[in-house]
């Protein structure tokens, strides 16, 4: 009877299989149709790469993609820096003034509706007279994604044994040196995973970017959104497939990174 309680039943199998196919079927269909030679969705015209070449010849779309890549890289880097500092303060700083407010400001944006974040940041930028474009979107995305980085890095730091740092300091390391020599290598995989999560979140965002961007600087999701409003276009299938491929590659790297850092079959969700 030992294994009886944990047996993987047929019900478990069916719900898992149905759940995963529900999650994947639409994406698979989208990817397949991106290679459809026919313009009509109803007709399968054989395999073709023509929608991909259409994308690479679409100047506005390429520019939007480049803008998104720059915003994503810049905001993810800033967010990783700030988010890691925040995680260190929360997990190692013990008590400090305004700690509750600090953690509240870091956790609230995780669930906050994007329209609220978007409109409040826009009003801030307008009030300071900032010219809207690359830097305003980057600052907005940094604000949102640094919270995700802080949570990912913090959950790793909490799982780490602080006696490692203590040992380093007992052996004469200054705190900063103990952090760089002992803690940082151990949490580096989480930091890498945090950067990648921040990058994909930035690459994903329509609402906040719509509020905070200015004329002439469209990100890829804004561009895709306005095309989708007009209806299905095979070219969009091709772009979406490219984005999915990029994100899948990022996740494989990130999950390798977190596997490297996992201490004991850690199963914490990346949230």
């Amino acid at each position: 009877m030992m294994s009886g309680a944990r047996k993987f039943s047929r019900f478990n199998l069916v719900s898992l299989a149905l759940g995963l196919s529900f999650l994947y079927l639409p994406i698979v269909i989208l990817v397949i149709y991106s290679f459809n030679a026919s313009r009509l969705v109803t007709v399968w015209g054989g395999w073709s790469l023509q929608w991909y070449s259409e994308f690479f010849n679409d100047r506005a779309m390429i520019e939007a993609a480049a803008m998104s890549a720059e915003v994503g890289a810049a905001s993810a880097t800033l967010a990783t820096l700030l988010g890691t500092l925040a995680a260190v303060a929360l997990s190692r700083g013990e008590r400090f003034a305004g700690r509750t407010l600090f953690s509240g400001m870091l956790y609230a944006p995780l669930a906050m509706p994007e329209v609220i974040t978007g409109i409040s940041l826009l009003l801030l930028f307008v009030a300071c007279g900032a010219e809207r474009g690359f830097w305003t979107v980057t600052a907005a995305h940094t604000t949102l994604t640094l919270c995700f980085v802080a949570v990912v890095v913090q959950s790793r730091l909490v799982a780490l044994d602080p006696s490692l740092e203590e040992a380093a300091m007992d052996l004469g390391c200054a705190p900063a040196r103990a952090f760089v020599a002992v803690t940082l290598p151990l949490i580096l995989p989480a930091i890498v995973a945090g950067w990648m999560l921040a990058f994909t979140l930035s690459l994903d965002d329509v609402v906040i970017a719509s509020f905070t961007t200015g004329p002439g600087s469209e990100t890829l999701p804004i561009r895709i959104y306005s095309e989708v409003k007009l209806g299905v276009k095979p070219e969009i299938n091709a772009i979406c497939t490219l984005v999915i491929a990029l994100i899948a590659a990022v996740i494989v790297v990130a999950s390798f990174a977190s596997k490297l850092s996992s201490t004991r079959g850690e199963t914490a969700a990346p949230l």
Partner: protein, 304 residues
């Protein structure tokens, strides 16, 4: 212990930069939203004057306060459009969250019962869509649901319907899109609590004569309630303010509040009313957000 304390001090210094950043870009902007929501449409057209001009001295500040008005909030209460939008948002979020829980729980439960090395594979499979763009996943459904899309083709080929069904621009399409998009947000916290559960507890329940179903309801489910709570909050709060999904999948006859805010802002260019909509939305969500904050804190700052 002394070593810990010396590390704690520099660690506290690390808070300075992110603290300032979040005050500047998260806390301060709410002040502007509140301020604009209290100003009149006519004088608050973009381009904006500085919100508070302190160089003008106290009299000016007093004048600024005198100019504040609750007109926008009165409008929100008196115009059925806004009240209905709020109600619809809360309704849609409640129904979707309930569906998500019913669908997500068995999936998370199945994952938690997989052999250990398969669990990480299953988790990766749930995370991939979570990382993949919302917009792309909604677009994938538009492909399938459109008039001559795959779903209608399959239904026609099976002679289940005699003519194409209108799926797009309906509430069913919107619910489908929301459930599809938020499913990973429900599964992951549920799985996190279910996977940590001690199997010996169920064995004990079995040894004491409980049937598997009984053991589930009296042992597994109550113990998974923190995960249930986290999943509900993580879905409910953002769904209330959802914009993209209802905008692309639902019909235009009724709006969720996120759409109303968007329309006031981008189409009507009425920033004060849009800000007032945001303020009320935030007030509606303060309680669930506080609960969510507490859950996160407890989960992340547990004593080591």
């Amino acid at each position: 212990m002394t070593a810990r304390r010396t590390f704690a001090r520099p660690a506290r210094l690390a808070a300075i930069a992110p603290y300032l950043w979040m005050v500047l870009f998260f806390l301060l902007p709410f002040g502007f939203v509140v301020k604009i929501s209290l100003s009149q449409t006519a004088i608050a057209q973009p381009p904006y004057l500085p919100v508070f001009d302190l160089t003008q001295g106290f009299a000016e500040i007093k004048a600024a306060f005198a100019a504040l008005s609750l007109d926008n909030f009165t409008l929100l209460v008196s115009d059925a459009l806004y009240v209905l939008s709020y109600l619809r948002s809360l309704f849609v979020a409640s129904v979707s969250t309930a569906i998500l829980l019913v669908i997500g729980y068995p999936i998370a439960y199945g994952m938690a019962r997989l052999p250990q090395r398969w669990q990480s594979v299953a988790m990766l499979l749930v995370i991939v869509p979570f990382w993949t763009s919302f917009l792309i996943r909604i677009y994938a459904w538009i492909n399938i649901l459109q008039h001559d899309g795959l779903l209608n083709q399959v239904l026609l080929a099976l002679h289940l319907v005699s003519e194409p069904v209108v799926w797009l621009s309906t509430d069913s399409a919107m619910y489908l899109g929301i459930v599809y998009s938020y499913l990973p947000f429900m599964i992951l916290p549920l799985y996190a609590t279910l996977a940590k559960m001690e199997p010996a507890l169920l064995e004990a329940a079995g040894d004491l004569g409980a049937s598997p179903l009984n053991a589930f309801w009296r042992v597994t489910f109550p113990l998974s309630l923190p995960g249930v709570g986290a999943g509900i909050l993580l879905c409910f709060i953002p769904i209330v303010g959802e914009f993209v999904i209802p905008d692309l999948l639902a019909g235009s006859d009724s709006q969720m509040i996120g759409q109303t805010l968007w329309m006031e802002f981008f189409n009507n260019r009425d920033w004060p009313v849009a800000s007032a909509v945001a303020v009320v939305l935030l007030l509606l969500l303060v309680v669930p957000l506080a609960f969510y904050d507490r859950l996160q804190r407890r989960q992340l700052e547990r004593a080591r």
